[in-house]
Symmetry: C2
Subunit: 232 residues, 2 copies
DNA sequence: ATTTAATAGTGTAACAAATACACACTATAT
DNA sequence: ATATAGTGTGTATTTGTTACACTATTAAAT
């Protein structure tokens, strides 16, 4: 903010907590690092932000490098700048979180970068030890998502296009870590009038097939502006 | 996040949206810049973060330099990193907001830094044109505060220790930009049980003096953890 | 053909919270 | 004494939240 300072190279990173939902469980995509520091450790996907890209662009790039997908829902989370968080000196990281439809992935993601040896989905409730302050970043991310699904329909970013109400409920339960009443959940959710009831049903299950729903995009957009109040 | 990179000086700034409440109005402390770029323009207080301080420390320092106060409530807001936001190249800024009891200030604040010629409280609804992307940062800050007073008792950070219910209501009205019903407001606020009714009353008013209240710190702390739901 | 297992799908009563709404009271200034 | 300006209070209505249990449907196993 001051003048007469040298034109310095920016040195900050971005790290991204990528959430997915599968088998009734929330998962986080972690990489095994192939570079020092923390070589061989698990960590969040993330890298230095290039000089010519915005932070959002850098995150989109990182998401693409690790998942092969573009246009993933993402939001800035917090900027971490403790003096000791990076062994090479104080390097701040602008952390993001992203929400991903796991069924959009064709297979286990293969990162196309050098700094990651592999990328693996880990259940949120059973994470390995992480390098840097990445454990802390994930904590903050889940807290944010927990709050945000109460007033914003971001949960749908984690579900396939067509989903059952039970899947939606299980997702809320996974994020909040608490069981919900089926009848009350359905009543409330259908009352928002943001779901379109399809005439399609689940297939390949050995019990009564559930009806599929999808978002009504127009109403969804309105709700995104106005805010929901979804609690308990 | 990668190794074998030179140990570079960090070059990022922090800017702080300092809110105050006076005369039923929300105000923002702006400085008149005494340095290029944007010399002579109004802008947010903010500066480069030193290499040896955390971001929080830098913000506390900046708050102290401009208000003479320590221990002000503050929270990180967002990190802005557009390529064009700073004329000297891409310098990101980690923006914070702070809430200040204006009656704690003895007089108009005098900044002790070189880069500010003066610091002046401006009504939020009538701001001058600002340098950098600072207008945008203020927008984002007020949105955040607007949401946050719905679930967290941060409003009290803007009021004197002893306040009337009408002052509290006017503060909510100023932040939300909407009139509230007096009876409903009082019922709801008193129901949270976080206020202590004093036997003191307002003085020096030419009409019926209002009762003073203050926070019950113990109950306040609990509510801070558990969250309120204060809407409408 | 019948049974079993697994999950889908549905309604109501009780309670709590939010809203809408109007008038009497009190301190001071003149 | 009276005008002024803001304080302080209650209730009925509507809306939202909670608690709670059984029947329906399908595929698989027998």
């Amino acid at each position: 903010m001051q003048s007469n300072l040298p034109h310095l190279q920016s040195t900050f990173t971005t790290d991204c907590v990528i959430f997915g939902f599968q088998g009734g469980e929330l998962k986080v995509l972690l990489i095994e690092r192939n570079e020092y520091p923390f070589k061989g450790w698990w960590a969040l996907p993330g890298f230095f932000v290039e000089h010519s890209e915005t932070i959002d662009d850098a995150v989109e790039r990182i998401l693409y490098e690790h998942t092969g997908l573009r246009g993933i829902y993402m939001e800035q989370l917090y900027t971490f700048g403790d003096l000791k968080r990076h062994p090479q000196g104080r390097i701040i990281t602008v952390a993001y979180y992203a929400l991903l439809r796991l069924d959009d992935l064709e297979s286990q993601p293969v990162p196309v970068t050098d700094y990651a040896r592999q990328a693996v989905w880990h259940p949120l409730n059973n994470l390995p030890e992480l390098g840097f302050d990445h454990g802390h970043i994930i904590d903050k991310a889940i807290q944010k998502v927990r709050r945000k699904i109460s007033y914003s329909p971001i949960a749908f970013e984690l579900l396939p296009e067509k989903f059952t109400l039970t899947q939606l409920q299980q997702l809320y339960e996974a994020i909040w870590g608490r069981k919900l009443d089926k009848r009350n959940f359905r009543k409330k959710m259908l009352n928002y009038n943001i779901l379109k009831e399809l005439s399609e049903f689940q297939r390949g299950v050995s019990y009564r097939a559930a009806r599929l729903y999808k978002l009504d995009k127009r109403k969804y957009a309105k709700v995104f502006q106005n805010e929901l109040t979804f609690s308990r």
